[in-house]
Amino acid sequence: MAEFVQLLFNGLVAGSIFGIAALGISLVYSVLKLVNFAAGDFLTLGAFTAFYFATSTKLPFIVAVLLSMLLGVVISLILEFIIWRKLRKTGAGMLALFLVATGVAFVLRQAIALIFGSNSQKFDIDQIKTYEFLGAQIAQAQLVVLSCASVAITIIALFIKKSTIGKNMRAYSDNPSLASVSGINVDRVIIATWIISGAFGALAGIFQGTVQGQFTSGMGLDLLLSILAAVVLGTIGDAYGALIGGFVLGVVMELSTWDALLGGIPSTYKPVVAFAVLVIVLLFKPEGIFGVKARKI
């Protein structure tokens, strides 16, 4: 039982991080029809810049976090202006978007490694302090991440649901041409999308760095596949679906290592579980959990 509670809790923590990261990818896809392969590296960037601001400038950690979110936004917007906008104008196809996103990921990841070095880093936070809950050991870092992530998730979900720009975003992703003729400012929608994706990508990276303890420049890439699985699981382009997909995967991946389940699988195979789940879901419901049936070939 204690093990179950432990794994469930770990799963919720992992799931909240997947969810936030997946939401950014899904939002970008819904508005821009772009699968952002560079999203994983934005997570890494967030963790490293927060680390840099916190350790070298002696700023309070919360300020460092906000600065690194800001940097994520700035870089996302720079890329929008120098790359994505131009590609949209030339009517680039799916392949061009995929490959450019990959190119961006290469450049970003290597730039991080070049600037911050290949050594692993860790935040200056108490990694040892734990609380006991129903026999499970809950780390303080996990608890902080889970509560902050819950707040962040609530804020984004409400923003997309209630704010004008959030409504515009959903309208635009449903039907771009109808949205533009009804007077929605498309550029503003796109910029808002990048702001959310950049800021919360960095935040997810900081959360992951906190939970992991140590992180390297490959952190985001290692997570990207599980995050993409969450995106597809929750139906690509569906922001709420991505959140739920993230939690489902986080919990399933952790529980798959549970001894009571036929001994559980070795924990190194967790990403494989994410994709096994994904493939199984896609086989029976190709449009994702929340998707509407697409036309069949």
Binding site: G91, T102, G103, F106, Q110, Y269, V272, V279, I297
Partner: protein, 327 residues
Amino acid sequence: MNAFMQPGFWVFILTMSGIYGIFTLGLQIQYGVGGILNFGHVGMMALSSYTMAILIITHGVNFWIAAAIGVAVAALGGAFLGLTTLRLRGDYFAIVSIAFSEIVRYVIYNSDGLTGGVQGSLAIPVIGENYPSYTDTWESIMNRSREILTPIFGEIVDREFVMAIIVWTTLAILLLFVSRIERTSWARVLRATREDDEVPAALGKNVFRFRLQAVIIGSVIGGIAGIFWGLESTLLSPDDFLTLVTFYGWMILILGGATKVKGLPIAAIFFGILYGGSRFFTFFPFSMLDASERAYVRIMIIGAVLIILMMSRPQGIFGKRQEMVLE
């Protein structure tokens, strides 16, 4: 800079280009003809090379049989990938295919007993036990070829030289084979499915089956590249099969013009020079960096080339723009 002057370096670049060229040819038939975005192609290379190495080392299977089984396993991998996910929308397939190759790599990475894990220790002989290396038969073939080729080409003939000749001969044969295939009615149907599923379906063509066949043929070619990869590197590590490699293939494909095979060899050589040559970026400003930092810069350059290429000339150097439009 001296390395640039040595013929051995250029022969090495030629061999690597050839292997990447074969690898890319597998993508060419999938995307250039069928419009299928397979981003997990490197998985086929991993499957064939590891299958071959494991069969030879731990089961003592004959080299040729092991290589053939390796390619067959790559074909099975392609069939599995296609059967499970090819009915999905193009972007879903792209994501799931990346996952496929990453899972292959993950399993290799974590199954130490079977694959030697991250150290690639599969090919390292254990003291006291008489394991053969998986390249033994191949090396004896190379030695014999060397004896035959030396009188013709002179002193330049070494292992690498023979390898380059064999790889490029294979690439030439496969290029001929693929360009033949691309003139058949099979390829015409496949090309039609690239633009629109419904017209070929209305004409009674099973779109899914055509696409599956394209993925399997591409996987066989990727598997052949994997065999050469294993033979060239003589030591396998899961890190040889990062998703990065698939994108190297895509870069070559786009560079050469995705819909035609004729640009592919030149694009492969161009990539080989960019990839192999950039390790000799020892001049300013790169001289400020150490070797591992230069490796980062190399991948950054490749990423930047990919971005610039897709933004300015998505049809490649030799391709036609009209044929790239898939929307």
